[in-house]
Amino acid sequence: MEIVLQTIANGILVGALYGLVALGLGLLMGVMKFLNIAHGTFIILGGYLSFWLFNLWGIDPFLSIPLVIMAMFLIGLVFYRLTLSPLLKLPNIGMRIDTSMLVTFGLIWVLDNVMTMLWTPDTRTIMTSYTGETFKFSGMRFSITGLGGLGVAVFVAIALYFILSRTYFGKHIRAATQDAEAASLCGINVHRIYLLSSGIAIALAGVAGVIVISTYSISASGGISWLLIAFVVMILAGEGNINAIIPAGVIFGLLEAGSVLVVGVPYRQAIALLVFVVVLMFRPQGLFAKRE
């Protein structure tokens, strides 16, 4: 019984991180139909920024989040201007998805090499005084950094929900998502919305990167494995369904943790991905998508 509870606890903690990892990817895809293959690489970049702040100035990773958000937001604006905005001239959405995949795939090599030059190819992590510490609660053990990650994921998801549903800016994002042309006829500057959404998406990747480096470790070329997780979670949530991403991440985390219990650690990802394929076969629109 205890091991089952512990498995559920692990699943929730790792799942919240999986959701956080997918938020930025889902936002770019949902709003603009850009599939950012370099999303995982931006996560790694966010992790390195936090690593720098910790090593050079001793700033705690969780406290570094606002700084990382600001830096990554600016990087996101440049990213949009240089690589994404030219793609808006393409005649249709399908070409936009395809071409954005190619362009951002190329960007991975650029970013990988820049990061290798700046931070060497070594694996990096952040060791704080509380790294590895756990918190016991009715027989279950939670790692402090894992709980921190859960808190950050929930906070970010609620903030995003609040912005999208309550503020004029967020409603403009949703309007541009549903019908960009009609939005411009309402007087909404759609290009500005795209620019700022890109900044937010890359900032979200940065936040995920901070949690990744404080819970696990990172290396310059490790982005692809996080991209895979982000991609699976985004599809589980249903494309364009941003509010369902954290719950979908938790489900994916629980699946993975559960499979450890049943078949053991080596097959963990294989089982989770198998379930993902099964879900896609029976609910290709995603677990949380509303019926059309």
Binding site: Y168, K171, A175, D179, L185, C186, I188, H191
Partner: protein, 242 residues
């Protein structure tokens, strides 16, 4: 007043409008009639900034519109109800109306504007919290009209309002359009496939064929014009229905 002078518009290499010139005067209801593919929607989309011109000029109260992005044209006071209504399906009725008031000046007074629109279309008030995609076609058209009015425009462009709606409902919407034209001195430019309907509510009309303006004049005069009767109203020379 809007002044369109000698514009050419292309889709890629395909020319859709040829040397089109027309004027819409303040406070009037003007219409552009023509068959499918004649270039009616193209002209509407050009005025609202969704399509660019290759030659000529468009001026609104002597401000050049051509070259401006669509959202800037809304700020200047021209609002378009697009063909197919194009409401935001996953937003509530109220949110759709709020989106119409995205222009800064309109945003400040949006509560007042919304209550004015609820007076025009009481059903929208009843359905304020409902998801817009679940509305009936007629209600969606009302919402599209309401949303376009939220920016407090000086001029309203209406692209194919009657499409897919029942005749009774179309009559009702036309009465609303005439009322706001009358009360608020709102200039209206409408494009319609239903030629008798368009000419019955408009003051003046233009006829477009194959991307060129071929006739213009007083709406009643156009209604009596034999060529227009023949081409659009399906009435032959002897007054028989073909």
């Amino acid at each position: 007043m809007i002044e369109i002078s000698h514009i050419d518009v292309y889709y890629g290499d395909l020319q859709a409008l040829w040397d089109v010139s027309l004027v819409i005067r303040d406070g009037e209801i003007a219409t552009l009639i023509g068959s499918n593919g004649a270039g009616k929607s193209t002209l509407m989309r050009t005025i609202s900034g969704l399509l660019k011109i290759r030659a000529g000029a468009i001026a609104f109260d002597s401000i050049r519109l051509d070259g401006l992005p669509a959202h800037r044209i809304v700020e200047l006071g021209i609002s378009m109800i697009p063909e197919g209504r194009r409401i935001f399906p996953q937003m509530s009725v109220l949110e759709n109306l709020e989106m119409g008031a995205s222009v800064r000046t309109a945003r400040k007074v949006r509560r007042n504007t919304i209550s004015g629109i609820y007076d025009l279309f009481p059903i929208l008030k009843e359905r304020a919290r409902q998801t817009a995609g679940t509305l009936s076609g007629g209600e969606q058209q009302m919402l599209a009209i309401g949303r376009a009015l939220m920016s407090q425009p000086k001029m309203l462009l209406i692209d194919e309002m009657s499409l897919g709606l029942s005749p009774i409902l179309v009559q009702e919407l036309c009465r609303v359009i005439q009322r706001i034209n009358n009360l608020k001195k709102l200039t209206v430019f409408l494009v319609e496939q239903d030629v008798p309907l368009a000419l019955s509510i408009a003051h003046r009309g233009y006829v477009i064929e194959n991307g060129r303006i071929v006739d213009q004049g007083d709406a009643k005069m156009l209604l009596g014009n034999a060529r227009i009767k023949e081409a659009y109203l399906g009435i032959g020379q002897q007054g028989k229905i073909n």
